[in-house]
């Protein structure tokens, strides 16, 4: 590959790297795992750059979603439990000092969505992808994205001790 390819790839990562990391975090809910998801995707992207450079973001999203689902399947078969008696039970991933309890509850609700619904929510609403692009990333129809999104949002509101409803009532 040419130096031009490399420069284009590096420009892409500079522009979208944070977005991919944040998307990975939204998908898996943990920064360590998010990094583990992003790295191989970047390498695969670099390897395939000439073939994917017309839509590298779409390729990256597809790869992240696939990798997260693969990881979820492995974890489900062989649960990974981290023993940490000296810390409070995690509501979810680590967050910055600005996080409020409301935010933690919202993040916990997001994490409890099934992987596919979570992926739809992350791509459609947190990464601002279109229905068509979300469908392409997930390998499903636009109709499935719409219905999945609707179910996910309803589930976020009603499935748990209504963290989002509580947030709303307090405002």
């Amino acid at each position: 590959m040419s130096e031009g390819d490399r420069a284009a790839f590096e420009r892409f990562v500079e522009e979208h790297g944070d977005r991919l990391l944040h998307a990975a975090y939204g998908l898996c809910g943990d920064w360590q795992h998010a990094e583990d998801l992003v790295q191989p995707v970047l390498v695969a992207l670099a390897r395939r750059w000439p073939m994917v450079q017309t839509n590298p973001l779409g390729y990256a999203y597809r790869s992240l979603v696939r990798a997260n689902i693969d990881r979820w399947r492995v974890v489900r078969r062989r649960p990974e439990v981290l023993l940490d008696p000296h810390e409070l039970p995690a509501h979810g991933p680590s967050v910055g000092p600005a996080a409020t309890e409301d935010h933690l509850l919202v993040l916990a609700a997001l994490r409890r969505l099934p992987p596919r619904q979570r992926a739809i929510v992350v791509l459609r609403y947190l990464q601002d992808q279109s229905e068509a692009d979300t469908a392409a990333a997930l390998g499903i129809s636009v109709g499935a994205v719409k219905s999945g999104a609707a179910r996910a949002l309803a589930r976020l509101r009603s499935d748990h001790p209504s963290p989002l409803a509580e947030v709303h009532r307090e405002r």
Partner: protein, 196 residues
Amino acid sequence: MNDEQTITELRRAVGTAVQDHHLDPGAAATAWSAAHARRPRGRLVAAVAASVAVTAGGAAAVATWAHSNGSNTPTGGGSACGLTNAPLPTWARGGFSPDSYRTPHVVGKQGLIVAIPFIRLRVHQPPDAGNKVLWVSKAGYGPLRIEARLEGTSRTVVRTLPNPGPSYVDMPAAGCWRMNLSWSGRHDSVALRYYP
């Protein structure tokens, strides 16, 4: 609450969570180098190190992956460096009550030793905590040598314990440490993740 309000709250919460997390500026160059590294021929495994540093309020995490020449795709989906809460092997249950048989642990690849962390393993533990790991061997006693390599790098450390048993095992960096274990003429291997 309607969909729009739900989405707004989601964006607010996630926005706060991610605001201090950034991809390392060198990630692109590292990924490019890893993608185009020359691989040896034959059945040798080509280990490609790609590291990304994420800074968040001063905390740093290192993630790596290794690529085998038998596969055209990266391993993806994590580094398989986790614990299980399946029941302990029967030979490792001594001292545990039945309701503790599912204490998180990792069994060696050869099935000869079990590592049972008592705490989330960290590079920097609070002053009142330590990286206590209970090693239980199926057979054999005597000094336990641990040769640990940080996954995806050539960084290695060696620890020697008096015997398989309770110990404090510290690692100098966060990540997945692949450990080759030797004791009393026996050999096995485990992987343990250390957090920052």
